[in-house]
């Protein structure tokens, strides 16, 4: 490999295969935002503290600001853009956030929703403690978290009811 050279990677993004050439020092968030135009994922701190950049990789919530682009080869990545349904309708979790007033400035929202989704995909009946633990790495300065926790509870109940 030569310095400055770009390497082609291929991965599944929101259900579709993508191929993109990246620099070795790029992070997944750079690829998503700059190269693939998926600006829903936000950079809030760049150090894995705020969670605004949370995406789901192979079912696990991760901070895309600390995920080397080259490590995503062959993996399945879900971002906020991948949550809408086939008719562009909001998913259950997104709708719950809207209805419960869990969104104010909205900057933390995509990351918060992805963390909630990762939880609800693996736990159908989360306790409040489970929810708070899942969202610990997502900072919000606007809401005080009250309506966010309510939204996740509501989404959990709705998703459980659908099963």
């Amino acid at each position: 490999m030569e310095p400055g050279m770009k390497i082609e990677i291929s991965f599944i993004l929101n259900g579709s295969e993508v191929k993109v050439s990246v620099h070795s020092h790029h992070r997944l968030i750079d690829v998503l935002r700059e190269q693939l135009g998926q600006t829903g994922t936000k950079e809030g701190c760049g150090e894995g503290e705020c969670g605004a950049c949370t995406v789901i990789i192979d079912g696990l919530a991760v901070n895309s600001c600390l995920y080397p682009a080259l490590e995503v080869e062959g993996k399945s990545v879900t971002t906020i853009e991948g949550l809408q349904g086939p008719k562009n309708e909001l998913s259950v979790i997104q709708q719950a956030f809207v209805e419960q007033g869990a969104i104010q400035c909205g900057f933390c929202t995509p990351g918060m929703i992805m963390s909630a989704k990762a939880l609800l995909d693996s736990t159908s009946d989360p306790s409040e403690e489970d929810i708070r633990d899942a969202l610990l790495g997502n900072l919000c300065r606007c809401t005080g978290y009250v309506q966010i926790v309510e939204a996740v509870k509501k989404a959990a109940a709705q998703l459980k009811g659908k099963q």
Binding site: M1, P3, G4, H23, S24, H25, H26, R27, D30, G46, E47, G48, E49, G51, T54, L60, A61, V62, N63, L66, Y67, P68, L70, E71, E73, S115, A118, L119, D133, A134, L136, G137, N138
Partner: protein, 284 residues
């Protein structure tokens, strides 16, 4: 953004070859410490050699000896049923590390090799008297974990050495071990942390291992405190004495996170509480 090359060797052999070829290159596991260090201009490696694609490094095997691959993620450790059963103190510490997002990517090996005085995974391994396996292309050695940490950010790893496994002997049935951590908020580096392991026979303590974090250049075994408990029939007098001795045998500093006095006091309090909890548990 700092520029660096990024390699994904598929074997340890390839990893060692790359390390030899590129002076100044660093091995990287989950990257949650290394990448932040690069971002903040604390380290400037020309290349990173990722160990994530090397098969076998992240597996967890239980048997006569429990072997945890260095690349096992913190989440893997929390979810492993055998570890939950046999080494709950390790799982407790894992649960306290960072957030879900960090735990899904950070590894036990990475946490150890980062050598922070407050490394959450170090304390349970110290009290369970784990060994770590270190390998180069030429040799393999196993050392007790308390020989691993040399100073803040400094381990005993030779330049081409890779920590590949953490090895744990099954503890006696009467072993109870507790981990406690105090931060400023729930998701935080430890301001003070302890792990306490007691092997009890009724009220008699056969073995005591106590480790403290954030109160010395490295995660520390508090042998003077252990001596007070080992062999004794434990009463409240002992827990109080353990608390005082813990306070006296650590060397914390004042930094932006906390003060020396507070860390000292907290170590004492956490030791006392951890001993009490371990006792309660063993008597249950």
């Amino acid at each position: 953004m700092k520029q660096f090359e990024y390699y994904k060797p598929l074997s340890l052999k390839e990893a060692w070859e790359l390390k030899k070829k590129i002076p100044g290159s660093l091995f990287i596991a989950g990257g949650t410490d290394v990448l932040v260090g690069i971002k903040n201009n604390e380290i400037h490696p020309p290349a990173l050699i990722s160990l994530r694609s090397i098969p076998g490094l992240n597996s967890i095997d239980t048997g006569e000896v429990t072997r945890i691959g260095a690349l096992a993620s913190i989440s893997d450790i929390i979810q492993n049923p055998e570890l939950r059963e046999d080494f709950p103190v390790l799982v407790e510490a894992a649960k306290s590390l960072g957030s879900v997002q960090i735990r899904n990517v950070a590894t036990i090996g990475g946490n150890l090799c980062n050598c922070s005085p407050c490394a959450d995974m170090a304390l349970p391994l110290l009290v369970m008297e784990a060994k770590v396996r270190l390998q180069t292309a030429k040799e393999k050695r196993e050392i007790p974990i308390d020989e691993f940490f040399k100073g803040p950010g400094e381990s005993c790893l030779a330049s081409h050495e890779i920590l590949t496994d953490i090895l744990l002997e099954p503890p006696p049935k009467n072993t109870k071990a507790v981990f406690m951590k105090k931060g400023r908020v729930k998701m935080d580096l430890a301001v003070a942390s302890v792990a306490v392991r007691l092997d009890m026979e009724g009220n008699k303590c056969l073995k005591a291992c106590i480790a403290a974090g954030s109160v010395a250049p490295v995660p520390l075994r508090l042998s003077k405190v252990e001596t007070v408990l080992e062999g004794a029939t434990l009463t409240q007098k002992h827990t109080v004495k353990a608390q005082r001795l813990a306070e006296d045998n650590v060397i914390p500093i004042t930094d932006i996170r906390s003060t020396e006095e507070y860390r000292r006091k907290m170590t004492g309090v956490l030791v006392k509480r951890a001993v009490e909890r371990a006792l309660e548990w063993s008597q249950a």
